[in-house]
Amino acid sequence: MTKFFELARSPKAAPWALGARLLLGVVLALSGFFKLMAPAEELALTMEGYRLLEPGRLMTFARVLPWVELLVGVYLFVGYSTRLMSVLAGGLFATFIFAIVSALARGIALADCGCFGRGGPHLSPPQAAAMDVVLLLLCAAVFYSPQKFAIDNWLNKTPSPKKPQPSK
């Protein structure tokens, strides 16, 4: 694991880190987007299948989650507050993994993970869990790696101090 972080931090990892960040951004943004294109009630119905949340909270969650995914995805894609967004994204994926594994452990038959709402690819729960594990690792890589072509780089540039004029 230490080797993984060492590799992630090295300058050679920069192109891979960029790829990881863009991939994470696209996956999350699309996941949120597809969910937002469908009625929230449908997502609530899918989430009900996991039997993790109280029924009263399902609609709130179904309305909020897609927006969080979309915004975190967009911010990651453009490299805005990258480290914070990679932590949030990691939190989301960890939650999804927990939900799927918990459902499978309780013997709940899930036909579709509901990951991308109805518009995107339909993954079986084990496929979705495997994908989320990989994405979680990518979040860690993005967190530790220096980022190229990120808005953060432009935002973090401090103006260079003016050279003192020699006195006459």
Binding site: A29, P39, A44, M59
Partner: protein, 205 residues
């Protein structure tokens, strides 16, 4: 956080939200033309509960007592409208819908509908459901020659297809999906939790 950073974050968020709002479909061209034999309750009622349902769907069967309870609690104020939405994953759902329409043409839609849901476990797993549906029709005292002829020729499948097209237009992706005066409710749990409240809201409109 600097003003510049906050500003950039806000611009990105607003842009993302605008894209979603522009792409989202919120209005549907829908029709309320449904055969009268598929409607129950007061035809003048202001509150309409429209159900998109699949006869082979277990969740749809579970929701029948909830619908019955809503109707009993709101007599004269509520109209129930049934729309077919047979899913491709259910082998006999389309045939069941056609059979229910065929029974409807002889004025026994709701009796056939109730029978299909009550005996769902019996016919869902059989190798051929048609003989079972013919049996149900016979038990209801229908004109069997006519029933069999019309079922064999899928004479009323067009009405089922019409409902399917409407369901797709309304973004129905799961069954049962209900619309209480156009407010969506997906699944029996949501109907149990919100049905009565939404009927009240509909009556106040």
């Amino acid at each position: 956080m600097s003003g510049k950073r906050l500003g950039v974050g806000l611009v990105l968020a607003v842009a993302a939200v605008l894209v979603v709002l522009l792409c989202r479909q919120t209005q549907w061209n829908v029709s309320l033309r449904v055969p009268s034999y598929r409607q129950k309750g007061n035809p003048e009622a202001r509150a309409i509960l429209m159900e998109f349902s699949d006869f082979q769907c277990p969740n749809c069967a579970e929701s029948q007592p909830t619908i019955k309870k809503l109707l009993e609690g709101n007599k004269e104020k509520l109209r129930i409208v049934f729309r077919h939405y047979p899913l491709n994953t259910h082998k006999w759902a389309r045939l069941a819908a056609q059979a229910a329409e065929t029974a409807g043409m002889q004025g026994r839609f709701w009796e056939f509908h109730d029978m299909l849901f009550e005996k769902q476990k019996e016919w869902s797993k059989v190798p051929d459901a048609k003989p079972v549906f013919l049996q149900y029709a016979a038990q209801l005292g229908l004109d069997m020659d006519r029933f069999q002829r019309e079922l064999d020729s899928q004479r009323w499948d067009g009405l089922v297809q019409q409902d399917l097209i409407e369901g797709v237009a309304r973004q129905v992706n799961a069954t049962p999906t209900f619309f209480i005066n156009e407010r969506r409710v997906a699944g029996n749990s949501q109907l149990q939790a919100n049905g009565a409240r939404l009927v009240e809201l509909a009556l106040m409109e």
